[in-house]
């Protein structure tokens, strides 16, 4: 269907433009972007954006969906609905399912389920090692041929440098993007908080930011050594940013992400053992949070992810140490990011560079930009609309959000994938 968006505030992270304009969609792709003036009139519906923000849809690189094995936590149908409601037009499912996506047939299964059930674009990462055990590499060529967009062991860190090196070296011949969770496992195992006065007062087993730096420094050295394309899924500490900065300056093909929760919450949010604030890596100090936000603004951290981790109530109604880590994030991604925009720490262009453009570039996708020929994957939202978040109204099957009953600003009005409206009513002309 052909569409024309008029009276919009357009955000294009590729050109760095933020301004009033109009955008025309023909056959599911962007046909014309007109900053400052109206495009040539065409057929199809006209959508008056009411001066609200029209931006490339969010590309979320880190989403857990419970297919196969845990549909009670999240299915492709519910994750797809949550994504559409959140302005996420593409997401990448993680392979830590049950069984894990370490076999080409399983990747195909997940992608087929997504095609049937999800209204947004879905990709999946395959496992880096068999069973996510960190000992034997998976069939990279077959996984990629089956449709895996990258390879990762999700929140499992490969402990052996020898295995990691072999995986990365082999990946230079398959072209696989190696995505890894850099938390030194011998230090991190059994911990659930960031070490410091607060965790010590609560008596929680804790780990210092040094665990992130050690694992990241090792990975970056191996990336340099092998020439592999490497992406650190989450860098959350100031000390972890040092080796990342140096590797980028040295021209290592490395990129990094951070979750929206690590950008908007800190260790004190755990308060009296609130398990909805348990994350892996754990929430950090306020100084680290600020450093991560600055790194997103400067581009040192390339990508923001929701790190969507749906958990049923039982997994969270436990003592903090035993509760499952992670939170749902697809629907709260944009309003949570808007806290940083309203706080003056990120511009909308910087936000969509990290939420849409950079993940697309890293994954080799044509989305994430408002340019002619790019897919018409779009989000229209009111950056100032206030609301009180009620977790029971989330589309996600699990309701474990840390933002329950929080005042948020920024509401999605509509989401389009390839020019089709997948959220916020219909576009009947």
């Amino acid at each position: 269907m052909n569409l024309t968006f008029v009276n919009a505030r357009l955000i294009d992270p590729l050109s760095g433009q933020d301004g009033p304009g109009a955008l025309r969609v023909v056959d599911g792709a962007i046909a014309d972007v007109a900053f400052g003036h109206a495009p040539e009139p065409g057929d199809g519906a006209v959508i008056d954006c009411g001066a609200k923000v029209l931006a490339p849809g969010i590309v979320d690189m880190r989403v857990f969906v419970g297919e196969p094995g845990a549909r009670h936590r999240e299915s492709y149908r519910s994750a797809g609905a949550a994504a559409a409601a959140g302005g996420v037009t593409t997401f990448v499912a993680q392979p830590d399912t049950n069984p894990p996506l370490d076999d080409p047939a399983l990747v195909q299964f997940a992608l087929a389920r997504a095609r049937e059930a999800a209204p947004v674009r879905v990709h999946a990462m395959g496992a880096l090692t068999k069973g996510l055990r960190g000992t034997e590499m998976t069939e990279q060529r077959f996984l990629l041929d089956a449709g895996a967009i990258a390879l990762t062991d999700a929140d499992h860190t490969i402990e052996s440098a020898k295995v990691m090196r072999a995986v990365m070296l082999y990946a230079t011949s398959t072209g696989a993007l190696v995505v890894h969770h850099p938390q030194e496992p011998t230090l991190s195992r059994g911990t659930c908080a960031t070490s410091g006065e607060f965790a010590s007062r609560l008596g929680l087993p804790s780990v210092g930011p040094v665990a992130e730096r050690i694992a990241l420094a090792r990975d970056l050295m191996l990336a340099q050594n092998t020439g592999a394309r490497y992406h650190a899924d989450m860098v959350t500490t100031a000390t972890g940013l040092d080796p990342l900065r140096r590797a980028k300056e040295a021209g290592v093909g490395a990129t990094a992400g951070v979750s929206i929760h690590h950008l908007t919450l800190n260790e004190f949010d755990i308060a009296d053992y609130r398990s909805f604030f348990k994350f892996d890596p754990p929430l950090r100090s306020e100084d680290d949070r600020q450093a991560a936000v600055e790194a997103v603004a400067s581009g040192l951290i390339d990508v923001i992810v929701s790190s969507h981790e749906p958990w049923d109530e039982e997994a969270k109604r436990l003592p903090f140490e035993e509760a499952a880590p992670g939170a749902v994030g697809l629907e709260t991604f944009l309003p949570a990011c808007m806290r940083l925009v309203h706080g003056g720490q990120l511009s909308l262009v910087q936000l969509f560079r990290a939420a849409s453009l950079r993940p697309s570039e890293i994954l080799g996708l044509p989305s994430g930009r408002l340019t002619r020929g790019a897919p018409a994957d779009l989000v229209l939202f009111d950056p100032n609309a206030p609301f009180l978040l009620d977790r029971e109204r989330l589309a996600s099957r699990s309701k474990n959000t840390p933002f329950d009953r929080h005042r948020m600003e920024g509401r999605v009005i509509g989401t389009w994938v390839a020019g089709d409206r997948v959220f916020g009513g219909s576009d009947a002309a």
């Binding site: 965790a199 008596g203 903090f320 140490e321």
Partner: protein, 313 residues
């Protein structure tokens, strides 16, 4: 307004100096009762006390049991070995099940920090924390405070050294809070591997050399160290630990001449404390056990008064 305005006793963190004094003063009365021929009172008559221990403890459980019985409560012990928690029941389901039996006092020990507070949100009775993970063990800190007060005549402006596995000890945390609130000078002594992160912000003085830390102390409080930490994980060996951090007569001589020696028990003789010191006349370790019963009687009495007042209202 109650003299002790709390529904539960979850940690020293929640108590004011006034609350702490209220417990100690009442415990003093019960200490006298416990030394008399007829040890019975009826503060808890008609009430049901359940001791729910997810972690084994002979001593603390016995102390709470005797305390409850002396005050006339119906006491029931439930330990994890015989409960369905082993069969996969969650803590909250266990709490709901016990709650349906209408207990009035629930004494809980659990291996996870914060677990007792979590449980307290799901029940209608008063909950006493008998130790949660590495977090708090409030009745231990209160009985220590009472013991100190009986020997020093006060529980303020004393120099008190806590020595041993500070990082993993809930006794240390509760004592740092309690003794700090009562305006004492608190020192901790441990190898760096047994100090928690951020200890420099706890308002205590930190020593890694025992000889320095013991100088001019009024009270020397030793902590138990678990065997597995002595085998190279945090400390190279038992003998090196004893050499550096074991309390011997020589090291004790650095403290004030009238300094008392304390230990929450059970002791590892020859590991953190020389047997001769443990049994010397400056040791008040047995009296700590005795005061434990009195403090627990006082704490349960105060909570039961609030419970009754709430039910009358």
């Amino acid at each position: 307004m109650s003299a002790f305005p709390h529904r539960h006793l979850l940690g020293i963190h929640d108590l004011s100096p006034f609350d702490i004094r209220a417990v100690l003063d009442l415990a003093e009365d019960y200490a006298r009762l416990n030394q008399s021929h007829d040890k019975h009172a009826d503060a808890l008559r008609g009430l049901t006390q359940i001791n729910l221990f997810f972690e084994n403890s002979t001593r603390t459980q016995a102390s709470f049991e005797i305390a409850g019985k002396r005050l006339g409560a119906d006491v029931m012990n439930m330990s994890v070995g015989t409960s369905s928690v082993r069969k996969g029941e969650t803590l909250i389901d266990t709490a709901a099940t016990l709650n349906a039996m209408r207990p009035d006092l629930l004494v809980v020990r659990h291996h996870n920090s914060g677990a007792v507070a979590l449980l307290s949100e799901k029940v209608n009775c008063a909950v006493l924390n008998a130790g949660d993970g590495r977090h708090e063990h409030p009745t231990q800190a209160l009985l220590d405070a009472l013991t100190i007060r009986r020997h020093k005549g006060r529980i303020q402006k004393l120099t008190i050294a806590i020595c041993g596995d500070i990082a993993n000890s809930r006794v240390a945390r509760s004592n740092m809070l309690c003794l700090g609130k009562m305006e004492n000078r608190v020192r901790v002594i441990a190898p760096p591997t047994l100090l928690p992160a951020g200890i420099d912000r706890f308002g205590v003085e930190v020593f890694t050399e025992m000889e320095e830390g013991l100088k001019d102390c009024d009270v020397v409080m030793m902590l138990r160290i678990q065997n597995e930490r002595l085998e190279g994980q945090a400390v190279p060996s038992t003998r090196e630990y004893f050499h550096r951090y074991g309390l011997t007569e020589d090291k004790l001589a650095l403290a004030r001449p009238d300094a008392i020696v304390m230990h929450p028990g059970p002791m590892n003789r020859g590991v953190e404390i020389d047997p001769a010191v443990a049994d010397c006349e400056r040791s008040v370790i047995r009296e700590q056990v005795e005061m434990g019963v009195a403090v627990r009687m006082a704490a349960m009495d105060l909570l039961a008064r609030n419970l009754r007042a709430e039910r009358m209202a």
